[in-house]
Point group: C3
Chain length 232, copies 3
C-alpha cells in the first residue's frame, strides 16, 4: 500500500507488501525490502537501502508507570543518502541519520537521536532517545546506548556494551544524564558505564570493566570497579 | 487475512496485511499496526495498541538437544486492556499481560508468564517461561529474565541485566530455579544474578555486580563477586 | 509472492504474505509462517519449520567505515532437515545449519557460519560471520558469538555471553581471531571473553567472569579478571 501523497524518486525498487504512509518522501535509487513499513512524513535520501521487515518512523508510547511522558510533537525521521538499514529494525520519528550510516539487523533507535556520517550502529544495538552520536563511530552488536548520552567522533564501542542514565534507578521525574564519551575513546566488550561519567578522549576501557567514575584523557582502565592500569 | 471465527470489537483500527487467526477475540478501540500476526485463540482487551510486525500467541518449539520438552496444552495468550505492545515483538501462548503493561520493541515473552498491572518490559528484553512479574515493575532495555523467576511489585531492573536458573549448566532434566527479587529492590545495569538466589526487599545491587549469594533486605551490594558496601 | 522458479516439495504449509524468491528449493513437510521472506537460492530441507516474520538468505552490506568489505560471492543459505527457525530472525547467505538445529526468535546469524547437528542458538542471540559451531552445542538467549570463533561439540554457553575478536578495537584491516571454546566447556551467564583466547575442554567459566587469558582443560575460573578457583 503506497499512499497517494507519497513522493517517490526514480529507479526505486520496492519489495512485496511494503506500506508507505502519507507524506513520505523517498529519493532516487533507493532499494526497499519486503514487508517494510515507512510511516507518515518519513524522509529517505538517494541511494538508501532498507532491508526486509523494518519499520521506520514510529512514534513513542508510554504507560502509567513511566515518569517521563513521551513527546507528542516530533519532526519526521530523516535518513540521509547512502545509508543502509538492516532487517527487522525499528527507528522512531524525530531522529536524523546522516550520510552513509549503517544500521544492523534487529537494531532500534528512538526519537530525537542524531547519528553522524559513516557511523555504524551494530546488529541488535539499541539507542535511546535524545542521544547524540558523532561521525565515524562504531557501536558494535548488542550494545545499549542509553538516553541523554553524547558520543563524539571516532569512538569505538565493542559488543554488548551497557550504559545507564538514572542514578536513582526509577525514583521519578528528575534530570537524567547518560555518559559522555569523548573523541577517539575505545571501549571493550561488555563494559558497563554508570550515569553521567565522562570517558576521556583516546582513553581505553577494558572488556568487562565497570566504570564508576571519570576516565582521564588517554588513560586505560579495567576491572570491577575499573581502575587505571599501571603504565609500563 | 481475518479468519471468519474471529470476534472484533468496535472502532478497531487494523493495519495492512494483518493476519488474525481462528477464535481470536479483540476488544474495542484497539489499534493494530501493519504486518501484525495474531495467532489462534489470542484474547486482546479494549484500548490495546499493537505496533507493526509483531507476532502474538505462538506456541513453543523444541529440538532433540532440549532436556525439557515444551508444553503442548497451553491456554491462549491474554492481553488485558490499555496494554501497549511494541514493534517486532514475539509473545507466546499461555501468558497473561495484565492492565496497562508496556512491552518495548523487539522484546519477547515466552509461555506461562504473568506480568502485573502497569509493568514495563523494555525494548529487546527477553522473559523466559513460567516467570511471575508483579505490578509497577520496570525491566529496562535488553534485560534477560530467566525461567522460573519471581519478581515482586515495584522492582526496578536496569538495562542489560542477566539472570540464570540452571546451576549445572545444561546437564539435564532436573528442577531449575531462577532468582527471586523481592518487593522494591533496585538492580543496576548489566548486573548478573546466579540461579536460585534471593534479592531482599528494597535492597540495591550495583551496576555490573555479579551476585553469587542472597542479598539481605535493604542491603547494598557491588563488585565481582558482589559484597555488601560499608555503611556510611 | 512465490517466484515461478522456486521448487517446493509435498505437504508444505505456507502462511500469508510469504515471499519466496527465485531458485529457492524447499523440501517436503515444511511449515512456513506468515510474512516470511525466503531470498533467492536458499535451500530448505524436509520437515523444517520457519516461524513468522523471519528473513532467510540476505546478503551482507557494508559502509565506508568498515575496514573489511563484505564478501560478494556467497553460496546459498542451506538449512538441513528438522531444523526450527523462530520468529523475526535474520539468517544470511553462505551459512549452513545442519540437522535438527533450533534457532530462537529474534536471533541473527551472519554469512559463512556452520552450525552442527542438534545445536541450539537461543532467542536474541547473534552469531557473526565465519564462525564454526559444533554439534549439540547450547548457546543461550542473548549471547553474542563474535566472528572467526570456533565452538566445539557439546559446549554450553549461558545467557548474555559476550565475546570479541579484535584486540586493537577497530584500528583497521588486520587478522581477527575470536575465542576458541573446546569440547564440553561450560560458560556461565554474562561472562566476557577477550579475543583469541582458548577455553579448554570441559572447563567451567563462572557467571560474570572476564576471561583475559587461556583456561586450561577441566579448570574452573571466575572473577574479573578471571582466576582459577582453588580446588577443594
Amino acid at each position: 500500500m503506497i499512499d497517494q501523497t507519497a513522493q517517490i524518486g526514480d529507479r526505486v525498487v520496492i519489495g512485496e507488501n511494503v506500506v508507505i504512509e502519507e507524506n513520505v518522501k523517498i529519493g532516487s535509487d533507493v532499494v526497499i525490502g519486503h514487508h517494510v513499513v515507512i510511516k507518515k512524513d518519513t524522509v529517505i535520501g538517494d541511494h538508501v537501502h532498507i532491508h526486509d521487515l523494518t519499520s521506520l518512523g514510529r512514534s513513542p508510547a508510554g504507560n502509567k508507570k513511566m515518569a517521563r511522558k513521551p513527546p507528542v510533537d516530533l519532526s519526521p525521521l530523516i535518513i540521509h543518502p547512502h545509508s543502509i538499514i538492516g532487517s527487522n529494525c525499528v527507528i522512531y520519528r524525530g531522529t536524523i541519520l546522516y550520510e552513509g550510516v549503517l544500521v544492523g539487523d534487529l537494531a532500534s533507535i528512538r526519537e530525537n537521536v542524531r547519528v553522524g556520517n559513516d557511523t555504524i550502529i551494530g546488529r541488535n544495538a539499541v539507542v535511546e532517545n535524545k542521544t547524540q552520536i558523532g561521525e565515524r563511530v562504531t557501536i558494535q552488536t548488542g550494545s545499549y546506548i542509553t538516553a541523554d548520552m553524547i558520543i563524539e567522533d571516532d569512538v569505538f564501542i565493542g559488543p554488548c556494551f551497557s550504559s545507564s542514565n538514572d542514578k536513582y534507578m526509577g525514583k521519578g521525574n528528575y534530570p537524567h544524564q547518560g555518559p559522555i564519551i569523548k573523541r577517539g575513546a575505545k571501549i571493550g566488550n561488555n563494559a558497563t558505564l554508570l550515569p553521567a561519567i565522562t570517558i576521556g578522549a583516546e582513553s581505553i576501557v577494558g572488556a568487562g570493566a565497570v566504570v564508576t567514575k571519570d576516565v582521564a584523557e588517554k588513560e586505560t582502565v579495567a576491572g570491577n570497579p575499573a581502575k587505571p592500569l599501571k603504565r609500563t
